[in-house]
Amino acid sequence: MNCREFEQSIVELSDGGLMDAAQRSLAQAHAEACAHCAERLAAERRTVAALRALAARDSAVSAPAHLRHALEAAFDENCAALNQAPVTARQWLRRGLAAAAAILLLFALAVSIWQRMNEQEIKADGKQTETAPATVPHREAAAPEVQTGQPDNDSAVSQVAGRTETSARRRSRHPVKTELRPTTANDEELAELFALTPLAATEPAEFEQVVSIEIPRSTLMLWGVPVNADRAGENVKAEVVIGEDGVARAIRLRN
């Protein structure tokens, strides 16, 4: 055992408490061989003795007598308060009914809030489609293109666009191009209509809205339209057909 190990066991050694017999023998042997540790042990034992003497002297110390009287008075008041207001069975029944009513009210309030949040979410989805046009084509990226051959006029838009699902989140993100004609984005007007949802071309529209927007030409590449690299940064005008649920159904490019 060295001095560091001796220091680790000095508390038990000086207390005279329970200690592993082998460990105690080693510690005592070290104290006999090391004058510093022997002195350290003696000092520690004196400190322990001083603490015990202080504990013995302090045992006579008590709290002031008036404290007991004050606490007993508080105890009486406490008991009186408890005894004065015993809770009867009728009171328990009233409390139970009040709690049940409160729970029902909370439930009704929660349902109401949930319904309003649902409505607001649908409205917000529609507004987002209107105000953030550039996101529409990006969101519909990398989709297979299917030629459906719809004519380029407003009535055709009505036929292509249509409600497909009730929830915007469950809606398919794969765009369907209604008519693919070999052309470039440099053309002054790209009149064909691109369906942005797979069912847009097959389901009739109950309500739709056409919104004019501007999108970067580079976005056209997402639908397979060749774009002049020199003009990729320019914007191109387009019209987006938005369904009743606020989701973009189809897009037509104009310039």
Binding site: C34, E44, T47, A49, A55, S62, A74
Partner: protein, 206 residues
């Protein structure tokens, strides 16, 4: 009468007290008021604080005594209440009188100590015991509380850990360090010329 027997009596008195037995409260108070008062007095160094904390402790026992459900000893439960209360007082009054672990300043109790080879040779002297009290009060709070709980109130390491809210190993290591600090401080105050000689000076590593 061993600790287990005391525990049974305390639990029975508490049960009766909570049922509204005033005499049981009186008995319980008499059994513990001194310990609680002494602990808080030595923790704070102030009789006023000790009085307030003792009162708060027993008021808390009246109000929340049902929360004690036999987990741990009643002593540990009561000291836990007192410990929390006295720490609140100390924080409020900013009476933390901590010593640096390698401080060199002159100790306030030095003049009270006997300038002898063994400062603790006569443990019956009031000056000597007062010096020990002051040395305890000068310890940092987290050392002071373990010294008081384990030495002056003879709580086990497990009980002290429950009171303080730490691990048993932490109690043990704090107690070890606290006693080393106390020993060094008492030695230094008695022998100011040898103040420079500290615990770490002559390790032999034999």
């Amino acid at each position: 009468m061993n600790k287990a027997h005391h525990q049974i009596i305390d639990e029975e008195l508490l049960r009766r007290m909570l049922a509204g037995d005033r005499a049981a409260f009186g008995q319980l108070y008499e059994r513990w008021q001194s310990a609680v008062y002494r602990f808080t007095l030595r923790m704070s160094g102030s009789e006023a604080v000790a009085e307030d904390v003792t009162q708060e402790t027993f008021l808390t026992l009246m109000r929340d005594g049902r929360q004690y459900q036999g987990r741990g000893t009643f002593a540990a439960y009561l000291f836990t209440i007192a410990h929390h209360s006295v720490l609140r007082h100390l924080r409020r009054e900013r009476r933390f009188v901590a010593i640096e672990e390698d401080e060199n300043e002159e100790q306030p109790t030095a003049e009270r100590m006997i300038a002898a080879d063994d400062p603790l040779a006569d443990l019956t002297r009031d000056e000597t015991l007062e010096a020990v009290r002051q040395a305890i009060l000068a310890l940092p709070v987290h050392y002071r509380e373990v010294v008081l709980l384990c030495h002056l109130h003879e709580l086990s390491y497990a009980e002290a850990a429950e009171v303080i809210g730490c691990e048993i190993g932490t109690v043990r290591s704090r107690l070890h360090r606290a006693r080393a600090l106390l020993t060094a401080r008492l030695k230094k105050t008695a022998q100011p010329d040898e103040a420079a000689r500290n615990l770490h000076s002559t390790r032999c590593f034999a």
